[in-house]
């Protein structure tokens, strides 16, 4: 069974540019989460989808971040325009079903560097 995949693995962009990160969850997983780790600090929650619906977006830093999950499969996280403080590692995770608490499987992360 394929795990959670993320693309790209690394992205280096200049301040003011746009970047789109992609996450493909494990097939059949309803829940999809985005997290971010900035500069060796804690991994912070950004957003939670249940299928195509945003269940919780309380962690989204500001309106420069837009997450979508059309069709309830893969998700994209767009940062527009990117700022220096957006640099970090963006993790995606998925888990099996609905709002049941269960194990989240993490992707390898996308390392974003904003210059």
């Amino acid at each position: 069974e394929a795990g959670v995949t993320q693309f790209p693995s690394h992205s280096v962009i200049e301040k003011g540019q746009t970047v789109t990160l992609r996450c493909d969850p494990i097939s059949g997983h309803d829940n999809l989460y985005w997290y971010r780790r900035v500069m060796g600090k804690e991994i912070k929650f950004l957003l939670h989808f249940v299928k195509e619906s945003k269940q919780d977006e309380s962690g989204m830093p500001n309106n420069r971040f837009l997450a979508e999950r059309t069709g309830g499969t893969y998700s994209t996280l767009k940062v527009q325009p990117a700022e220096l403080e957006d640099s970090g590692v963006y993790f995606c995770a998925s888990s099996y079903k609905g709002l049941l608490i269960n194990e989240q499987f993490f992707g390898p992360g996308t390392r974003l560097t904003v210059l």
Binding site: G3, V4, N31, Y33, Y35, G40, K41, E42, I43, K44, F45, H48, V50, Q55, D56, G59, F91, L99, I101, E103, Q104, F105, F106, G107, P108, G109
Partner: protein, 113 residues
């Protein structure tokens, strides 16, 4: 706000030493607790989890953790570490019905051969 505190940011041990990494979480009701590990260049992966039942849980690679509700703690232990345990360890808490996980800052473990 919900928070998770890991007491040690960097731990250095010699092989065969015993390990205990502290984790405390803020009160927020019923919790589910996790320890994740990230080996150099690899994904975050689950070491062990506590949902209910026996508060002493055993995970992969000889790790175990004990949930002490009265202390809001979920410390990770291993009796004898190996060089291959060198990694970063994260404690995480999910509050029931919240979905999302709250993570600690992480502890980097370096095991000297």
């Amino acid at each position: 706000a919900q928070s998770v505190s890991q007491h040690n940011h960097h731990v250095i041990l010699s092989e065969a030493a015993s390990l205990e990494l502290g984790c405390n979480y803020s009160y927020g009701g019923t919790v589910n607790l996790f320890w994740y590990v990230q080996y150099p260049g690899q994904h975050l992966q689950l070491l062990l989890k506590y949902f209910s039942g026996d508060p002493l849980v055993k995970g992969i690679k000889g790790f175990e953790a004990e949930f002490i509700k009265s202390k809001f703690s979920f410390n990770l232990r291993k009796p004898s570490v190996q060089w291959s345990d060198t990694a970063e360890y994260f404690c995480a808490v999910t509050y029931t019905n919240a979905g999302k996980s709250t993570f600690g800052d992480g502890t980097t473990l370096t095991v000297k051969p």
